[in-house]
């Protein structure tokens, strides 16, 4: 019997989540919730979703035993859930396929998305091309400059990229702008949110689409290792890859769940994005959750070497899992993430995304403290090809 059944019907995870939006968005969210609840239980929808995940995304993604790196670290065995092998190179596509299929069934002809590093933008542009829909991606003008390759990728896929000049000109401003577009064009437009944040039903829906990661892992662990892992480790920005892995394990109390946030230049420097580790509850982007904010409740600019973790909020389900003690949240610095990035390149021949490198960095800290028979399952949420410029710059190399 299922014990964990959050969110409740109003989208609450304990005190978190909910629908904190202007009246102008309520009708659109009500429509989305009704349609999602309908298709969630629709066999045809689920069959098409499964088919697309297999033949378009390339699932299931394997679990790979990082033997050389584990031996080098001298403790627990590190296993990698290879979301980096998905089409477009990250877990983001699981969610965009699901939402695009829903959009199509809702009769929407235009999809919009917000993006920080550009990964969710690329994943949205990809599915828009695949299903023949117009795609507009909002991206902070600072990010447009920093992520020129991904901007070009989206354009190749037929999307229009709109640079956002307001606020700090980064992800949260892109999100604000996408919400405004949605309010204005709701009749023909579907808003694909890229993470488990935003108003109900997004945190629930995105989790459900990403939960394929954890469901596969349960089967694969049983088949290949005869048991479930001792701990799950995943990076947390908004938290979609982490919740995708964690969710099917929530009732499995023997499995530790560890979310790794970005400590940037250090959690005492004000240049980090460690929301759950350092933040306070508040309301932003349609839900109540932990936020990085000042004493007046203004949202503070965050920093991480990894653009995908550079967000001042976090999914409300993570806020709840933290408060009730089911999951642990820690933070690692830019430097620690970079060091894990290089280790995986050299020991395993895998170039990880900087986001995923945060999870790897914590695994590298934890593994030596545990016995060799312990199994750590790390979500390798994306590949690092997109991060070449950033990493090269850290070594003083300019292309």
């Amino acid at each position: 019997m299922k014990i964990y059944d959050l969110p409740d019907k109003h989208g609450h995870f304990g005190p978190y989540g909910g629908t904190f939006v202007a009246e102008t968005l309520i009708a659109a969210l009500d429509e989305l919730l009704a349609q999602y609840q309908h298709f969630r239980d629709d066999a045809d929808f689920q069959a098409e979703f499964a088919h697309e995940l297999k033949y378009y995304v390339g699932r299931p993604s394997p679990i790979y035993h990082a033997k050389r790196w584990s031996a080098h670290l001298g403790g627990a065995q590190i296993l990698l859930k290879r979301e980096d092998l998905n089409h477009t190179g990250a877990h983001k596509i699981n969610n965009t396929v699901g939402q695009a299929l829903l959009a199509k069934r809702m009769g929407k002809t235009r999809v919009i998305a917000e993006t920080g590093a550009g990964q969710h933008g690329v994943a949205s542009a990809t599915v828009a091309a695949r299903y023949g829909m117009e795609c507009v991606v909002y991206m902070g003008s600072e990010d447009v400059k920093r992520q020129a390759t991904n901007v070009y990728r989206m354009k190749l896929l037929g999307a229009t990229v709109i640079p956002v000049e307001s606020g700090s000109r980064t992800l949260k401003d892109a999100l604000n702008e996408a919400m405004r577009d949605w309010v204005t064009n709701v009749e023909n437009t579907y808003y694909i949110i890229g993470t488990v944040a935003g108003p109900h039903p997004y945190p629930m829906m995105v989790r459900d689409f990403q939960a394929v990661i954890g469901r596969e892992a349960r089967v694969q662990m049983e088949e290949e290792y005869g048991r479930q892992p001792d701990a799950l480790i995943a990076c947390v920005g908004g938290g979609s890859n982490a919740i995708g892995l964690f969710y099917p394990y929530i009732e499995d109390n023997n499995v530790r769940m560890i979310g790794v946030e970005a400590a940037g230049k250090g959690i005492n420097t004000h240049q980090h994005a460690a929301t759950l580790v350092t933040g306070r509850p508040g309301v932003l982007h349609g839900n109540r959750t932990y936020l990085i904010q000042d004493d007046n409740g203004q949202i503070i600019e965050t920093h991480s070497i990894s653009a995908g973790l550079d967000y001042p909020g976090v999914g409300p389900e993570h806020a709840w899992l933290k408060d009730c003690g089911r999951a642990e949240y820690v933070a690692v610095t830019d430097d620690e993430a970079l060091s894990a990035f290089h280790a995986l390149c050299r020991f395993e021949g895998i170039i990880p995304a900087l986001e995923s490198s945060h999870a790897l960095a914590y695994a590298a800290k934890l593994a030596p403290t545990l016995g060799k028979d312990q199994l750590l399952l790390v979500n390798l949420s994306g590949r690092g090809d997109k991060d070449m410029t950033t990493v090269a710059q850290q070594s003083g190399i300019v292309f």
């Binding site: 904190f20 202007a22 102008t24 309520i26 309301v283 982007h285 904010q293 409740g297």
Partner: protein, 276 residues
């Protein structure tokens, strides 16, 4: 009777419509806000909506977002906004002041703590854009304990059963968003407004203000024919933004006076100012 209710009943007796200008506290700089509030009243405002600056104003267009950014540049926080209201009340005890803003500054302060401080400062109503009726039971209770009116938004997409919900919670007036979009947009559809307001009136007995997309005297007059109050925000902010500091007060004064004149014309009650 509180200030908002008495203002509407006086206007009704005079067969006049309420003019509600919106400015952001701290824009263009904190020292000017109280002066601007008094000026709005002299130019014909019946109620003042005072924006509490927020870093992420999702429901606003670029104009009001920029005003928030200017105010935040001067570190104008919720506490400063309440200080401004206190200052305003030293010489004006009549004109209602409604705070308008977003949830997080309130969350940071705490509902009860905020409501008490707001009452003490002389605030009459509060509209928090991202507290819809579903999420605000405790919030409304705290406001009511302090006899502050909770103001709610209605939109063209609000269905009947939600209006009934709002009817139970809302006090003072309701704010009907006249178009699908954000503040400052320009595609106001009067036929839509007319049809929807008829439905709103059948369910909600308190006065109805209409805002979003009212950019000139013509639109203000047209909306005043249908509503009890006309809310003008982005257009006034633009005037603040585009004026030199020496001309700012005159320009805002002229704009608000022209709106006042437009509102009064619909009843043939032309004020003496209108000839200027």
């Amino acid at each position: 009777m509180n200030r908002i209710t008495s203002t509407f009943s006086v206007l009704k007796a005079q067969n006049k419509k309420a003019l509600i200008p919106f400015i952001t506290a701290g824009d263009p700089e904190p020292e000017m806000t109280v002066t601007l509030m008094h000026l709005l009243v002299q130019a014909g405002a019946d109620i003042i909506e005072l924006g509490v600056p927020f870093s992420d104003p999702m429901a606003d267009g670029p104009t009001i977002q920029r005003s928030s950014e200017r105010a935040l540049h001067h570190h104008t926080g919720l506490k400063d906004v309440l200080t401004m209201v206190t200052e305003f009340r030293k010489t004006n005890t009549v004109t209602p002041v409604v705070l308008m803003g977003y949830a997080n500054p309130i969350e940071a302060r705490g509902y009860g703590n905020f409501a008490m401080a707001a009452k003490e400062a002389g605030v009459d109503g509060v509209l928090i854009v991202d507290y819809p009726p579903e999420e605000c039971e405790e919030w409304v209770q705290q406001l009511e304990d302090q006899k502050i009116d909770p103001i709610f938004l209605l939109s063209p997409t609000t269905p009947k059963r939600r209006m009934e919900k709002v009817a139970k919670l809302a006090k003072g007036y309701v704010y009907y968003v006249s178009l699908k979009g954000v503040t400052g947009a320009s595609h106001l559809d009067l036929v839509d407004v007319r049809n929807k307001l008829a439905e709103v009136r059948s369910l909600i007995s308190i006065p109805i203000g209409v805002g979003f997309g009212i950019r000139d005297s013509v639109a203000a007059r047209a909306v005043a024919e249908l509503a009890d109050a006309v809310v003008v925000g982005s257009r006034i902010i633009e005037e603040i933004e585009n004026s030199t500091r020496s001309a700012l007060l005159d320009n805002v004064n002229n704009l608000v006076k022209s709106l006042r004149t437009a509102l009064d014309e619909i009843n043939g009650t032309i004020t003496s100012d209108s000839e200027c």
